[in-house]
Symmetry: C2
Subunit: 145 residues, 2 copies
């Protein structure tokens, strides 16, 4: 693991999200504003990795710090997301040998990963707008004053 399966996958759908996540129904249909397609831990993870490579455990804390505690990733889910991202060539990892303490795996973002992060930004902003609109609707329906 950690080998550049990156290159093999990179040219599949060059300027797209390549896989499920982040992009929605494929045909551009977007329903809802929150749950469903596209998580929030994943972009946070990519953002943390774009800042600096790290281990899963540290990344969790980095995310919590970067987001001022707004995103507190579940430890179990974090490693699953990292493995999935690696399968898709968005991150690479290598075991760190000859260290004290438990075995650690160092994750780094790939150029594909950076592209995915940029893509995420667009989607997050879209969602932010949707959530804005919904909040406005709820506010005016809730307190007409």
């Amino acid at each position: 693991m950690g080998e550049p399966q990156d290159t093999a996958r990179a040219q599949k759908q060059p300027d797209d999200c390549r896989r499920r996540r982040c992009c929605e129904s494929g045909d551009g249909t977007r329903r809802g504003v929150g749950a469903g397609k596209g998580s929030f831990v994943e972009p946070a993870l990519l953002a943390a990795l774009a800042t600096s490579a790290g281990h899963g455990y540290d990344l969790a804390r980095a995310i919590e710090e970067m987001t001022q505690g707004e995103v507190v990733p579940d430890a179990g889910g974090l490693y699953r997301i990292l493995r999935r991202l690696e399968e898709d060539g968005f991150v690479i990892s290598e075991w760190q040998e000859g260290e004290s303490g438990p075995q650690r795996r160092l994750y780094s973002i790939t150029s594909d990963g950076r592209a995915l992060l940029a893509h995420w930004l667009v989607h997050l902003e879209e969602r932010r707008h949707a959530l804005d609109v919904l909040t406005g609707v709820v506010r005016s329906a809730s307190g007409p004053a």
Copy 2:
């Protein structure tokens, strides 16, 4: 159906979300920013009902209109949410007799439902803030320029 099972349930946990939805882990822990606990269709539905009573089918279109197409509820899910809201006393419904066309069920919001909507507003604003923070983090990690 449509009877005020409202009153029976109302005094359970007066100033709370009373049930699962909307409020998070119960102990105040909130993780993540989007998916998981609390949908987005439900507050939209309550907001639509707070504006005016209506049938499920119409409410779907009202929501789409109110949110400028940002929330397009799934028809199947909509009726499930309405039934769940009714079970919990947040809405009431009655079949409309003697009309042409297919049978219609008129839904109205209860005072508990209005309270829930007000509660939703708080949570949506919290989430909006969380999403704001996350988006900012992703933006600065994505394009440091």
